[in-house]
Amino acid sequence: MNSQQLKNIIEAALLAADHPLSVDQLAVLFMPAHPEQSTEDAAPTRDELRQALSVLQQECESRGIELKEVSSGYRFQVKQALAPWISRLWEERAPRYSRALLETLALIAYRQPITRAEIEDIRGVAVSSNIIKTLQEREWVRVLGHREVPGRPALYGTTREFLDFFSLKGLGDLPTLAEISSLDGIPTQMHLNQSEINPMSDNNSPDSNPGSNIVQLYPAANDTKADTNEASAHG
């Protein structure tokens, strides 16, 4: 198989699949269907697949679509600059989400794993069951486990679908949490800011709490994390 054909198969597969495909998933297309059956053509290596993806990415520069890597793999998407024309294909506008839903989602994304009571604590109001249900039905949020306290409340976290929806490769790509100036003479509050303002910064230390779990849940996030932190440190 030459590189041209390899590239074409990848392009066709990404356009035929209805969800992003990872390099591993692409590799399967080239494996013999039955383990006992050997093929004349050697299956392409991961490096060759990545190489082909990179060529496809470059070729898109002059096209109407682009090849984007998100959390669960690669997908083709319409270039954002063309959205004004393309959105006219649909009469209905994309739904807008309520502030209550977005705030709950943001808390789960930045503070996972988090219980409903902890969300309510920070927002200062009860979180309606409908919001949690909607987030779970959209497959943006799922139960990661239960906290071992009376009542065993569910611990919520975000999913790959959440990352894919917002075009993120990992949680490290989330916008940095705002720094809020602290009040002199309130040491506890300083301490709180330092440790909790940016859950993403925790990921660098292997034994720190919420971040390290997130890394294990989303291996892809791990790759991008260092870059993001570095970038935001410079910026």
Partner: protein, 285 residues
């Protein structure tokens, strides 16, 4: 005053209902610092995501930093809104009242003279916890806005797809490990108490394998020379195994030996009826 009858029709008042009721008194004019169009007031009040959100709004409206808030002033304004919400019979969740109590407590602690000898900071700023909560909420309120601004599928990002080629869903045969097969055999043999009877032994197995091989090598139409069943390279043991296999096959009437004359070559052949059976079976299926 703008006509607001429709919004407040639930208020049990007759002609010319007041805008709202505050502590039982008719509330006919809006507070001076509330410059929201009255017909939008109810909608406006409902947009607050809770007491912290309302407080942040009040602070922002005064162009104040969270750190600079005057508890007395904020508490006064907060209470005005609470009364307005009550008057409009908005569903006033308990959290608003809890916050009102907290504000009142902070206010009273701010007014208390500091006990002599207690240095500033030891007692702490009574506003600290409130400020911490406001900052924490503000942080995630902004994060929610940031998340919403991310490119969204269907709003800013459109996925693309091409028509699939004509294809059938490939159904792969299940994977099986030898271990699974052996466990199954162990089960069935245990059930049948075969182990104790030594019905199946390793030696028998290679004879059986040879039986299978011989059966596939011979057929009913042609005679196969007996000697071709043996492979010299297998040595003495191989010859014995083949012989045992042939004898077993003959015993089971799966093979017949044919010798036309003494000392002439011996041939083997599948009995004619056996093949007949095959065609019968195909005919009936």
């Amino acid at each position: 005053m703008v006509n607001v009858e429709n919004e407040v029709s639930a208020v049990p008042q007759d002609a010319a209902p007041p805008f709202a009721l505050v502590r039982g008194e008719a509330f006919n004019t809006l507070p001076r610092d509330l410059y929201i169009p009255p017909d939008a007031l109810e909608v406006f009040l409902e947009t607050f995501e809770g007491p912290l959100d309302l407080l942040l709004y009040l602070i922002k409206r005064q162009n104040l930093e969270i750190l600079d808030i005057s508890v007395a002033e904020i508490t006064r304004q907060y209470m005005v809104y609470i009364e307005l919400m009550k008057g409009l019979q908005l569903e006033l969740v308990a959290e608003y009242l809890v916050m009102a109590a907290m504000l009142a407590e902070i206010k009273s602690r701010m007014l208390l003279p500091r006990p002599p000898g207690v240095a500033e900071g030891e007692e702490g700023d009574p506003r600290a916890e409130l400020i911490r909560r406001l900052q924490e909420y503000e942080r995630y309120k902004r994060a929610a806005t940031d998340v919403e601004a991310l490119p969204q599928l269907g709003r800013d990002i459109f996925t693309v797809s091409a028509e699939r080629p004509d294809t059938q869903v490939m159904r792969l045969a299940p994977q099986v490990s030898l271990h699974e097969v052996l466990l199954a055999l162990k089960d069935v043999l245990t059930r049948a108490e075969m182990f104790s009877h030594h019905h199946v032994q390793r030696e028998a197995l290679s004879v059986r394998e040879r039986m299978s091989n011989i059966l596939s090598a011979v057929n009913a139409d042609n005679f196969t020379e007996f000697t071709t069943l043996f492979t010299v390279e297998e040595g003495r043991q191989g010859v014995v195994v083949t012989l045992l296999a042939v004898l077993e096959l003959i015993k089971e009437s799966l093979l017949e030996l044919i010798q036309t004359d003494t000392f002439s070559p011996i041939y083997v052949k599948v009995p004619r009826q056996s093949i007949q059976g095959v065609s019968d079976e195909f005919a009936t299926t």
